[in-house]
Symmetry: C2
Subunit: 339 residues, 2 copies
DNA sequence: GGCCACACCGTAAACGTTTACAGGGCGGGG
DNA sequence: CCCCGCCCTGTAAACGTTTACGGTGTGGCC
């Protein structure tokens, strides 16, 4: 692992100047003879261009950062899965940050843009604070935010539409004849929690159904918490005939509890999840789920960023990805429930 | 987004030389007065050190690459989830490559180490070819391989032990009284496929059970393929009372088919998966699965790499992570099957 | 044969740091 | 009072590229 060859080494061996070497390596017009000599020397030495030195001179690193809240969350994973190939195809490497949704970590990432080790950043914060907005305004490289950002923030922005998403699910349940539709939500002080809770109420209103506080139970976005919440709801409102769950993990918890309580899904209680993660297809009965388009949002974000990296200045853009209801066994009555 | 401040800007404003600025920023002994002036100037200008220039000089990028076969695969994801925090704690950034298990892409990644944009690499190739070994020998930065590598290859190496893993599962099924244990495997020309197939045969032998070719069915490592394979096996050997599946996706397919065929799990047929992914816990009945320690392997790999980055030369090390059988409802008779 | 144009090439500066080296100022000791 | 030594600081080189600029050589044309 001795010091690798540089253009100086090549220049010496080929008997030309480093400028010529550089020109050949970059395909600039050069005499055929020189090209041959340089190429030969480079091959023999196993030369590889030093990316760091190139970046320093060109002020481009060909790296893009993606800051996700949680490496373990399948929704972010779906984004990553789309972002990666888009960047790769455009010749960018992907630097991955996991912020664990800690605000200080996210601010850190924004701050570190000043180090210029990446050309741009895609970030998906769980909540957007004042500090975020300040750092965004002062960011030293283009940023794309996945998630909603206050109106007027000058930043490219890709959003989901969980309001419409919840409405799709409630309408679906209503069409199936369900009238006592419960809602199992996550904490109301998170952006998704607040949005989904409000959307639930609104969707009921649109259908002329009454909003019944007893039908709403707050837990957290995990399976065990979801199960607990569903247990409480069932005890309080035994005649519930459908459950709108604020994400797939909660819905899995709901299935656990319903099974234990001897309620058939979907015959007795229909269940809808949210995010349409891999788990929705894996569970039994498979889970009807509202896709918020994680994959599409990832792709859109990557494309927005690339566009800005190549295009330069333009007005910030907002892309909204429409939700989609993926109907599976947990609401599809005719295909029955397990045994 | 005008050009950010450099140490030159600071030097001017503080009325000192760039060397002093650098010394202050690096905490080298300096007069208090100078420190104050420099710090003040740096603060006012919102200075952030340029990582690229630092790297060029110091020959260290504080970045490490992780090349995974497939961003979508939960087993790799589990590795990533462990690798990330270890690296972060040590002050390294993570550059993510997805090679889609294409050999050319993997070679590419190894080659690109010459660009010196990372200090080291963790790689998990699905199969190891001659080309891999050549590139590994010539690699310009430390590499850790997750997966098995031929004896004598001079490279840090973290391995799973799927042989023992399969044995654990077969022994478990045997203890439950199962004697007609089928095997649903992936392609035999992959490293895992070959290893697991051989281990199955061996484990049966250890128990004095006959090896019956009819009990083995080859498919692929996906749910639909697994389901198809199980269907064929069931048709051929109706008296099968347990299924050893070469990964969790295959096992999920098996559950689908068994349910459709009216076989109760585990009462009629017990099912074991492999990799212990999130899906195993999500399915119903939840899936007994052999954990090959993806998380532990990721962690071990990261630690090996860090050790080499800090320690320098030492003999290559091989770490083998022991498998663990995670028993869930798909084999745990007493807890019953769905309704 | 001389001059011009052009194609090619080499020298050197620049990107933003870190760091070896040497110089300046000051205090203390002889 | 002088000299030595030490602490601090500045100058400059280096990391490995890219690229502006000027120089050299060749060929063509008058």
């Amino acid at each position: 692992m001795a010091d690798g060859p540089t253009i100086n080494t090549i220049a010496e061996r080929a008997g030309v100047s480093i400028a010529s070497v550089s020109r050949v390596l970059n395909g600039l017009p050069t005499r055929q003879d020189t090209v041959r000599k340089v190429m030969a020397a480079a091959d023999e030495l196993g030369y590889v261009r030093n990316a760091v030195a190139r970046s320093l001179k060109s002020r481009r690193t060909h790296q893009v950062a993606f800051a996700m809240a949680d490496v373990g969350n399948p929704a972010y994973l779906a984004m990553l899965r789309e972002i990666q190939p888009v960047l790769k195809a455009a010749g960018y490497r992907l630097v991955l940050h996991s912020t664990d949704a800690v605000v200080a970590d996210e601010i850190d990432v924004l701050h570190s843009l000043g180090e210029r080790y990446v050309d741009g950043l895609i970030m998906s914060p769980l909540r957007v604070t004042e500090a975020h907005l300040e750092m965004l305004a002062a960011a030293r490289a283009p940023v794309v935010i996945i998630g909603s950002v206050p109106e007027g923030t000058r930043v490219d922005n890709v959003r989901a539409d969980s309001r419409t998403g919840v409405k799709l699910a409630i309408d679906h349940l209503h069409e199936l004849g369900r009238r006592r539709i419960g809602m199992i939500n996550g904490p109301l002080d998170t952006v998704p929690g607040a949005a989904r809770g409000a959307a639930y109420r609104e969707a009921l209103g649109d259908l002329g159904l009454p909003y019944d506080e007893d039908l709403v139970q707050i837990g957290d976005f995990y399976r065990a918490e979801g199960a607990r919440a569903v247990g409480e709801l069932l005890a309080r409102v035994p005649d519930v005939d459908a459950l709108m769950c604020a994400n797939d993990l909660i819905a899995l918890g709901a299935l656990d509890v319903l099974r234990a309580a001897g309620r058939r899904v979907p015959d007795d209680v229909a269940v809808v999840g949210m995010d349409d993660t891999d788990l929705a297809a894996a569970s039994w009965p498979s889970l009807t789920s509202v896709s918020l388009g994680s994959a599409e949002r990832g792709k859109a974000a990557a494309e927005l960023l690339l566009d800005r990296l190549q295009g330069g200045d333009r007005e910030p853009r907002v892309v909204t990805v429409p939700p989609r209801l993926v109907i599976r066994a947990s609401t599809r009555q005719e295909e029955g429930s397990p045994a």
